[in-house]
């Protein structure tokens, strides 16, 4: 980073903004009634996450996060919402058998998970970064690694994607002209 006197604080501010986006996005995603808003929450969360990836010195992944999650995953979900749920849920649907109890149970489980994992990560004494790094982690290095060290997983992932596309087509195509 180019250092000028206040740059650290500026960066901190940007960092906090990304953290806030991630947290807020995640909360919106699980807490809103309207499904379309929770997709928006996911999108905001992903943008925040992309910023965090940038701070974790991987701009490439940051952009991929936006490209794939915001540009593809969220759009696909909204598209499915349009196809599958044309109307807002009626209030009647929102009535749950035990509203308070359900909320408390889910919140307790989630809090437990959060406490456990966060405790674990805070208590662990983290080592300092390795002195020498194998490579520079650039896009070029990623590309080389993908086609050498990780070529088998790469091929498998492509296969999975292909199967997913075919499967999605097969499932969605069925009953196309039924209505």
């Amino acid at each position: 980073m180019n250092a000028f006197p206040a740059s650290d604080w500026l960066l901190l501010g940007i960092f906090l903004a990304f953290v806030a986006a991630t947290v807020a996005g995640a909360l919106i995603a699980v807490n809103t009634v309207r499904i379309i808003r929770s997709v928006c929450g996911l999108a905001i969360c992903c943008v925040g996450l992309a910023g965090l990836f940038y701070f974790l010195s991987s701009p490439f992944l940051a952009l991929m996060e936006i490209l794939i999650y915001v540009g593809a995953v969220c759009v696909t979900i909204i598209f499915a919402v349009m196809l599958a749920e044309p109307d807002e849920p009626t209030p009647e649907r929102l009535v749950k058998p035990y509203p308070i109890l359900g909320f408390l149970a889910a919140a307790a489980i989630a809090a437990g998970v959060f406490y456990g994992v966060a405790h674990l990560s805070l208590d662990t004494g983290w080592l300092n970064p390795a002195a020498s790094r194998v490579n520079d982690g650039s896009v070029h290095a990623i590309g080389v690694a993908l086609l050498t060290t990780y070529s088998l997983p790469f091929e498998l992932i492509s296969l999975v994607l292909l199967v997913a596309i075919l499967g999605a087509l097969a499932i969605a195509h069925d009953g196309r002209r039924k209505g």
Partner: protein, 375 residues
């Protein structure tokens, strides 16, 4: 408190939804409402709801004298006003057995054909505009302006001419008009080639029109569709040839007709009709005789008791005017059998299962004028 299963396991209304195309919609060119029942972008039912611009033209005929009804006739289909006046004037002349001077008949033919060209130009431009191409309509209006200038110089009006009278026409044409007609014919022929290269041959337009909006001759017959819609379904029926009126049997022209029955066929029929109209104008301007423009007409018009019909080929199809007289100086009943109403009525059947943009293209190919539907 569990909701019953049926409440969420949707009703049929979940499958389809109703889309109101109009009464204010860019593609209906007026206040026509089409109630579409859609399944996604597919139309399951299209119900035209006319009546938003109903002006009681037929009823108005019953409380004004024969001559006073003349201005109304240009306002039904404002794009081809001449042919409408022609039909009404023709019906009254048939009743009174009036002789129309030859020169007046020639003037009627020339102005009617000019009017037909201008109507087809607007129809063409609006059609292409429905398909999303905005520029052609302005080129069409450029050419149409030339026609309107010619007609304005003769009739004094650019749209609702009210030029024909019982027994002739109201004002004579001068040589400037005839020269102007010749010049226009000369100007228009290369323009048609230009239109063909710009629009008709365009692959996007062809892809949108070919095979879309199929209308069979049998369907036309059932609904009484006429004009370019009928001729696009391979029925070479044209009032000017099949039940010749005025002096159309003196001219040499063809009836363009196409066998496909799709939107492209109707489009092509109109484009070819412009060419045929140019041919008629060419011949009429060359042959126009000197002479009076008004026959002998009684001062006070009283039609004999009875029904009198007169059919003309308006730009959009067969227009029939039927006047009933009970011997008074006002009509007992004026009935207009307008082409657009019949052409629209087949929309419901033909558009079933169509995609929305195709239906819009189909509606454009019917070339509807909404006041003509509602009257």
């Amino acid at each position: 408190m569990i909701a019953p299963k049926e409440s969420t396991a949707g009703t049929p209304s979940n499958e389809t939804f109703t889309l109101n195309l109009g009464p204010q919609h860019p593609a209906t060119h007026g206040v026509l409402r089409v109630k579409l029942t859609m399944d996604g972008e597919y139309i399951t039912r299209a119900e035209p709801v006319p009546g938003y611009i109903h002006r009681m033209h037929e009823k108005m005929g019953e409380n004004r004298t024969w001559a006073q009804y003349l201005p109304n006739t240009s306002r039904v289909d404002y794009l081809s006003a001449m042919t409408y006046t022609h039909a009404y004037v023709g019906a009254v002349e048939r009743a009174l057995k009036l002789e129309v001077p030859l020169r007046a008949e020639f003037i009627r033919v020339i102005t009617s054909e000019l009017n037909r060209i201008s109507s087809h130009l607007v129809g063409w431009g609006a059609f292409v505009m429905d398909l999303g191409g905005f520029t052609p309509i302005l080129y069409a209006f450029d050419d149409r302006e030339k026609i309107l200038d010619l007609l304005e110089a003769v009739t004094g009006s650019r749209l609702t001419y009210c030029y024909y009278r019982f027994g002739g026409v109201v004002a004579d044409v001068d040589t400037a008009f005839l020269e102007g007609c010749k010049a226009f014919v000369k100007h228009m022929r290369p323009r048609l080639d230009f239109y063909r290269a710009l629009v008709t041959d365009n692959i996007i337009l062809r892809k949108r029109l070919e095979g879309i909006g199929m209308v069979s001759a049998e369907m036309c017959r059932r609904y009484g569709a006429c004009g370019p819609v009928l001729r696009g379904s391979d029925v070479a029926y044209d009032v000017r040839k099949n039940e010749p009126y005025s002096i159309y049997n003196q001219f040499d022209f063809d009836i363009p007709h196409y066998p496909q029955g799709d939107s492209m066929a109707r489009y092509n029929v109109r484009m070819d009709e412009i060419e045929q109209s140019l041919r008629i104008i060419d011949q009429a301007v060359a042959k126009i005789p000197e002479g009076p423009i008004m026959g002998k007409v009684p001062r006070v018009l009283k039609l004999p008791v009875g029904d009198f019909c007169y059919a003309t080929e308006a730009a959009r199809g067969r227009l029939l005017v039927r006047v009933s007289s009970d011997g008074k100086d006002t009509p007992y009943r004026v009935r207009l059998r307008t082409p657009c109403f019949c052409n629209l009525s087949l929309f419901e059947e033909a558009s079933k299962g169509m995609l929305l943009p195709d239906a819009i293209a189909f509606m454009g190919s019917l070339d509807l004028v909404i006041p003509d539907i509602d009257r």
